[in-house]
């Protein structure tokens, strides 16, 4: 039985990791496409492969959408020379990209991607593992990824990566607090559970009534929390406008200045994996996960179809959110470092505290 269980978990893990890696990889192409569309360019549209590319309409469309560009870029990272500068601390220099990449993947193990409702009517989470402190685990593990940046910056033994790692750690500390405080009202609302699956189950149906009815998602119930969490997610996944760790304009390349070839690729994919994780988390916690707007959880399709639908809904929400994150990158200029600190400590953190207090009072009045 134990071996069987292990095998099932392993299969699930492989499927999830493969899927998320594919999404993270294609996020790179998506980013390039969105960047070019915003700038009124066509974007990558030349790369093609022999057989797939010659399918009449589909092949042409895939080429124009830059579908094969990722394969070319990936292969390039494999075949490049792997330089390690002489002045670095070899061990930490090699470990850093892995430390930056692995937590994003590890955190995914506790995130539910959908639900399977069997014939007995009991909803089972579709996740590698779903445990009752899932959210705590995800926050803790994804926070580790900053150590990859700190290690890279320190081991590079060079000034710009060092600045970058200091900035990244300061940024993480200031925004992690906001994330925690922004999420607390959600947990108070769901009766103190940290289980992501029950948080999603809570969000089916409608809040309000008549024409004013909104989906009972936490973004509608607590918009301030959602906004705070979204801003902090940008900061946590090092996305513009809070691109402190990698600010090309003043830190060359930030923590990965001394990196090249596959090690850089690992950082790069890790960044997008982190962004994917952030998007999945936001859609699970605030956008109702696999709940379809105005459809109650019990009215969702059941069985295998229901499982596919629920995963599909999460996928669509994640893709939309990732597109939004990318659009923001190509819209807003980067904040200055002191502005980021100001925003984090003087605005977001007090706002999160006030928000928490307000919802505490509301909940006390409603339940008391």
């Amino acid at each position: 039985m134990d071996w069987m269980y292990l095998l099932i978990v392993l299969v699930k893990a492989v499927v999830v990791v493969a899927l998320v890696m594919a999404v993270a990889g294609y996020a790179v192409v998506g980013e390039r496409k969105i960047a070019s569309w915003v700038q009124e360019r066509p974007g990558p549209n030349r790369t093609t492969v022999p057989i797939l590319g010659s399918i009449p309409v589909v092949g042409w469309w895939l080429r124009r959408m830059g579908f094969f560009q990722l394969w070319a870029d990936g292969a390039k990272f494999f075949f490049k020379e792997e330089p390690t500068p002489a002045h670095v601390n070899k061990l930490y220099f090699l470990v850093a990209p892995v430390v930056a990449f692995v937590p994003a993947m590890a955190a995914l193990s506790a995130v539910p991607f959908g639900q399977y409702v069997g014939s007995d009517g009991v909803a089972v989470p579709l996740a590698i593992t779903n445990f009752d402190v899932g959210m705590l685990f995800v926050m803790a593990v994804s926070g580790i990824s900053v150590f990859g940046i700190i290690m890279a910056g320190w081991a590079s033994n060079s000034k710009y990566p060092y600045f970058s790692s200091i900035r990244a750690s300061a940024q993480l500390i200031s925004y992690e607090l906001t994330i925690g405080l922004a999420l607390l009202p959600v947990f108070m609302w769901t009766g103190g559970t940290l289980d992501l699956f029950s948080i999603v189950r809570e969000q089916g149906g409608v809040v309000g009534g008549g024409v004013f009815g909104l989906p009972k998602w936490f973004i509608c119930i607590m918009p301030v929390s959602a906004l705070l969490y979204l801003v902090a997610l940008f900061a946590e996944s090092n996305r513009l406008p809070f691109d402190m760790a990698e600010s090309e304009t003043d830190l060359v390349g930030g923590f990965h200045t001394e990196y090249g070839a596959f090690k850089f690729g690992l950082f790069f994919v890790g960044e997008y994996a982190h962004m994917t994780l952030a998007a999945i988390l936001f859609s699970v916690i605030f956008l109702g996960g696999w709940s379809i707007p105005f459809v109650s959880m019990d009215a969702m399709p059941v069985g295998l179809l229901g499982a596919v639908v629920s995963v599909g809904v999460v996928f669509v929400k994640t893709v939309i959110l990732m597109s939004f994150i990318m659009l923001v990158r190509w819209t807003l200029p980067r904040f200055r470092y002191d502005q980021v600190m100001d925003l984090g400590w003087k605005i977001l953190l007090p706002l999160a505290v006030v928000n928490l207090a307000v919802y505490a009072v509301i909940l006390a009045l409603v339940e008391g």
Binding site: I34, W37, V38, Q39, E40, R41, P42, N45, L327, V328, W330, T331, L332
Partner: protein
């Protein structure tokens, strides 16, 4: 001059939260995503060449197929980067164009040196060298971009020139020679 003092309005609360501005900016970039593409996809789409464009200098022929260059070497002397080298040659006496002064035996134009300034075109008294709209000149070796007479005429083509200076000169000379009647 009258000075107008403008009142500097303090930022409104909405402006200070920064959020309406972000929303407006996102709306602009979002619209742009579905707008017209302004870039050309170059090898398939060629850019429009404006009038008076200075491309590769080329040699041209007149409508009768005569090479217009008379190898006066003015372009060679005026050329700032010394890209032109002309080897003058005589026109055989039995040729139909024997009345024209001279023709180049070889016309060497080194495109590695040419700076596309157009002074050769300005200096030419015969309008024989013209900068046309050839903008993409490339080759695998350095020798291939040192253009010679045949290649320059191939690029140049025919200039629709109605003046026919040399024919008129010949006609005038013939008239003067047989004139005293």
């Amino acid at each position: 001059m009258a000075t107008k003092i403008l009142e500097r309005k303090p930022l409104t609360l909405a402006e200070r939260t920064y959020l309406p501005q972000i929303a407006a900016g996102l709306w602009v970039t979002f619209r742009k995503m579905f707008g017209r593409r302004v870039t050309l996809e170059y090898p398939e789409q060629k850019p429009p060449i404006p009038r008076g464009y200075r491309g590769v200098p080329t040699l041209v022929k007149d409508p009768n197929g005569r090479e217009k260059c008379v190898s006066c070497q003015l372009c060679e002397f005026v050329c700032p980067p010394k890209a032109i080298r002309i080897t003058p040659g005589e026109i055989p006496a039995d040729s139909a164009t024997a009345h024209v002064e001279k023709a180049p035996k070889d016309f060497e134009l080194n495109m590695l040196r040419c700076i596309y300034c157009g002074l050769c075109e300005e200096a030419c008294p015969e309008r024989a060298i013209v900068l046309q709209n050839v903008y993409s000149l490339n080759a695998a070796t350095r020798e291939e971009v040192v253009l010679h007479k045949d290649k320059l005429y191939e690029l140049g083509g025919t200039l629709p020139d109605k003046i026919m200076k040399w024919d008129k000169k010949k006609a005038a000379a013939d008239k003067a020679a047989g004139g005293h009647h």
